[in-house]
Subunit: 368 residues, 4 copies
Amino acid sequence: MLLRRRAQAFRLPMAAPDDASALVALIKGGDLDPAHIVAILGKTEGNGCVNDFTRGFAVMALRAALGRWLAPSALDRVAMVMSGGTEGAIAPHMLVLAARPAADRAAPGPALALGCVVTRDLAPEEIGRPAQIALAAEGVRAAMADAGIGAAADVHFAQIKAPLLTMEQIARGGTAAGDTLKSMGLSRGAAALGVGVALGEIAQSAAMAAAVGADPSLWSARASCSAGVELRGMEIVVMGMSDAWAGPLRIDHAVMADGLDIDPVRAALRRLGARFDGQLPPAEAARVCAVLAKAEAPRSGQVRGWRHTMLDDSDIAATRHARAFAAGALAAQTGHAALFVSGGAEHQGPDGGGPCAILYDASSRDQE
Amino acid sequence: MLLRRRAQAFRLPMAAPDDASALVALIKGGDLDPAHIVAILGKTEGNGCVNDFTRGFAVMALRAALGRWLAPSALDRVAMVMSGGTEGAIAPHMLVLAARPAADRAAPGPALALGCVVTRDLAPEEIGRPAQIALAAEGVRAAMADAGIGAAADVHFAQIKAPLLTMEQIARGGTAAGDTLKSMGLSRGAAALGVGVALGEIAQSAAMAAAVGADPSLWSARASCSAGVELRGMEIVVMGMSDAWAGPLRIDHAVMADGLDIDPVRAALRRLGARFDGQLPPAEAARVCAVLAKAEAPRSGQVRGWRHTMLDDSDIAATRHARAFAAGALAAQTGHAALFVSGGAEHQGPDGGGPCAILYDASSRDQE
Amino acid sequence: MLLRRRAQAFRLPMAAPDDASALVALIKGGDLDPAHIVAILGKTEGNGCVNDFTRGFAVMALRAALGRWLAPSALDRVAMVMSGGTEGAIAPHMLVLAARPAADRAAPGPALALGCVVTRDLAPEEIGRPAQIALAAEGVRAAMADAGIGAAADVHFAQIKAPLLTMEQIARGGTAAGDTLKSMGLSRGAAALGVGVALGEIAQSAAMAAAVGADPSLWSARASCSAGVELRGMEIVVMGMSDAWAGPLRIDHAVMADGLDIDPVRAALRRLGARFDGQLPPAEAARVCAVLAKAEAPRSGQVRGWRHTMLDDSDIAATRHARAFAAGALAAQTGHAALFVSGGAEHQGPDGGGPCAILYDASSRDQE
Amino acid sequence: MLLRRRAQAFRLPMAAPDDASALVALIKGGDLDPAHIVAILGKTEGNGCVNDFTRGFAVMALRAALGRWLAPSALDRVAMVMSGGTEGAIAPHMLVLAARPAADRAAPGPALALGCVVTRDLAPEEIGRPAQIALAAEGVRAAMADAGIGAAADVHFAQIKAPLLTMEQIARGGTAAGDTLKSMGLSRGAAALGVGVALGEIAQSAAMAAAVGADPSLWSARASCSAGVELRGMEIVVMGMSDAWAGPLRIDHAVMADGLDIDPVRAALRRLGARFDGQLPPAEAARVCAVLAKAEAPRSGQVRGWRHTMLDDSDIAATRHARAFAAGALAAQTGHAALFVSGGAEHQGPDGGGPCAILYDASSRDQE
């Protein structure tokens, strides 16, 4: 019989982008073996757009902190997916995902399964084009294999951090985007199309023929993609349910049709076992280990028939508006704002909406 | 027997700050007699801070549009309370509140009652100081009398639009604030203390002795105050329940402890008669004529124990973050984002939270 | 002998976008006959980008103020070109340009000549495309005729205010740009290509074949174009030197290779008769009636071999950075910051630079 | 006879806040001995306000890069003064200042002298108060001694990087400022008063009695202070002229009365030996090793009698406007924008203006 694994998820506060003290304390306290870390997803407090250096700063600090325990090659295997933008009351925080061997006596699965892959570097001219789509699809499949998830239907979340184009690369020519902000959207969109292909949500031929970002009817219900200046390849983390994993952690997902579409999230919470009327009561809120959602401004210029101004605002980027708003909707449900809401949902959920995955601790309620 | 009045409430879209076309169409269509208009509350798409000229632009356009029907003196009696800031998906819109004679056969009240007063101009050195508090309290009492509301407990919402200090006035000296943005907070705070005094929520002695903005334990559960460069006096609109009014409109209010505190709002909706599990279904959403809420960033730097970054953000004003976030929370409940969420809640609700009033159409469900 | 005209230029402060009080005072004081006004160019204090409503607010206020003296049809003939963005120390102000009959005894010209035309409305699908280029060229020629300027070489400045696309128009499809901010650039660029064609700086075939904004080697040395949501046609003001005009006002222009390229401006000032070593001394500064310049961020990502960050900044639009910087360079020369520096210089001067026109009062120095 | 020192100054480009590659190349190329580094002053591309993490990121990267050659204790002796904000065309860059032994045959001085001190940590309640003023004055005197500068008149520049208050510290109470942005101003102001005391520009009694920031008539002509979240003590770098130093580098300073007051800078350049009419020609520009200036928005709301909008802008911090504008003025003179212009000039130069120091290479012109 194969040794099963057991996932761990820790949500840790960050007092600044370079604050890894909670992680260090967790390790020193013996609750986490640094060698078990699979991925770290962080919400850092930059603008989440082009000149957001909080992401790179956080990665530099995390590598320095974990460097006490892990060799550089081991560090390279930990996906560090920093997503900038803590608009509204979103709390800067990190989700540390780890995998340790399950106890022999562990109950049968399925349980939360984690897989992680870092792809080769992308050339500037590949960003936002079919080469990136194909590489993302290949990476998702590799991450599924790493997670021991056989069926695409058991994947509930595929997070990809992808590179963007710098002004320097754009000036050299041959790239898909003429400005850096736009390149972020193309890179996110191509990665999401790749997820959709890998998970069977989008026909490969349609994805490869698509002008990235042009056709909002092509979307994945489980892709979450961000772009940052601090990496060249793609970091892919896949989460799902698998019999190869044990433990109390579960995952499910919903698709929000727009930033205020909370009922599908309520349904997912109930499928996971949560009991609530309005907002989650504290005991239930404590079971929600993570909420990972995408937010974006509808291109139609409208939400539920009313005009929004996110796309006409030259002072605040639309992604910032969208994150703050969707975070409010989700926080009203979950009871706090330590939410991994990221912006720029090209091909990730329907136009103006986005996927929302929930990690839930389904431990027995006996002690309650 | 005294003639009773009947309140009307129209929520109208705005394609731009100077777009009064929906109002003009309403009047031309015969659904609204311009002479019945008591107040117009607008959410306009500026930054809601000092250099937000969308408020003044909207007022200029509204006066020009209504000038076809109303003489300047009649226009002066209409409170035009523009609140800037449509962050997140908040829809630029206006609430037109009107009062017409009730039909003889109208059912007995109580029903939504409206009162409106414009105070004398404030001197720059009065802004944010006891003189403004006293003037606001006096104005609220006058507006209650105008509305025919006898008991303070029957007031559910008191909206005050107050002036701010300009750099020029500050440079002349003798004012309470050293910069314009700060003066907005002091002016809102003093107005709110005045509401609290008038409604018996704050002892007059405590309010008059208070350093405005310093003691967050002094607050009104029904005050909503904003400040703008486009006026010198205070425009006060009071809403409540009164037997002197008839018709299907009702009002109730909740106090949100923070921007995501949605359960008190759910309770208020249910008190008003709404039936729902999660988000309001469309038929219920259509009954909600208006949602008027305040939002602000908690000074503690935390929301539910997690750090927020609103007060440390030098790129986006905290009021803008807070409005977007609270609007998300409320929209997830009400089903759309045509919400009158305004920022800067000094002495309006507890620190980091704010009052939320709901106008509801309790017409018989027979036709449903 | 034909009656000659004499140009007047007034630079007036604005305390807010809707402040026309200095203009009203000028008229009431008898220094300006409102019937003589040809154009009003204003720098208003919005962001100068899509959601800048200060431009429309200023126009509404100017029309209301001048409406005391001018009939609507006369008002429609006054070009009101508001340009948003008073970054750095740029002073909100307006330039009022007027033309009155010259005295019989006036010295022979040439002198500053003014011409003004408003084109037909543009359809959304024409914006940023050859139809707009052709219409702009036709309009510039008509404005030259209006000004009595025969030779293109005598034109020193052609200001065009053009429309932009709204989200609503973009959503309907068929337009050249996918977002509103981008449409501003395309509209400015097409207008500038039209100026270049009319003035013989750009071959008509090259302009009509150009993808607007794509080839920075196509530029006019005298075009200054802005875009705003408040108009549908193009307002064109041409300034140059003509024997048909008398009086002490003169105009000349320079081309700045980048935002700090002040030596060509110094040369133009000296051609106009100014005497100075460093900054203009007060007596010379008083002779400079207007400085009209364009500013933009070089696409290369560099200024004089050093990296700039304007195009990578997701918090502040590049146009805002560029205006503030070029205004500093020009103000250091002219001795004050009441400068008409506008952003977005597509096809207006070389990439990263822009035209700069100077109006100068060359009255005899006898009284000095 | 004492061994004399010789100062070195290198201006190096930065492709990102964490880019130390030019410094590493300089060291590897043998042009700089890392043990000689006295201070590194960097302009990094954040907002220069509270949530500017580019400063800390740059310091972390510099320490990592220099860590190959210097032990932690040696690193701690290098002042790393990062100043955020590269508005307009300001180039992200660093100035590396070093001191090596002078050759025996070196010509007699005086020449540029460098001194550097790091003070003890400040308690949160000391920031912006007399304790900080006194500590700054003491530190400047110590840095003068370190530089071998005997007379205060020979000091031309005193750069202090000081801490600010975080929301957390403010929430604990007892601090001088109620928000983080304001604490930056108080910390800069107290440090500048300390410089003024040490250099004999401000009477000690007046400085200690002053409410920091309140009286703009108290100022130093040679102080340049910034505040950042990444340090607790003050880093002080003093530059001046001393016979104890040899080599071709010189320093002089000017005081700009406002952001466009370029004539005092021209006079200082001429005192240093530069020859020019308008902008510095390339050969002269190459001799200017560094320009270090402060910029701020005049509190009067006016520049040269015209209104500015910097202090009324709720979208862009006044410091950002002021830096972009003053950088334009200076760049027009120096011929490039690799300028160390920092914002927030409380007690540093007159209200609305600031000191400007210039490092100049006065090598013989024989080879020209």
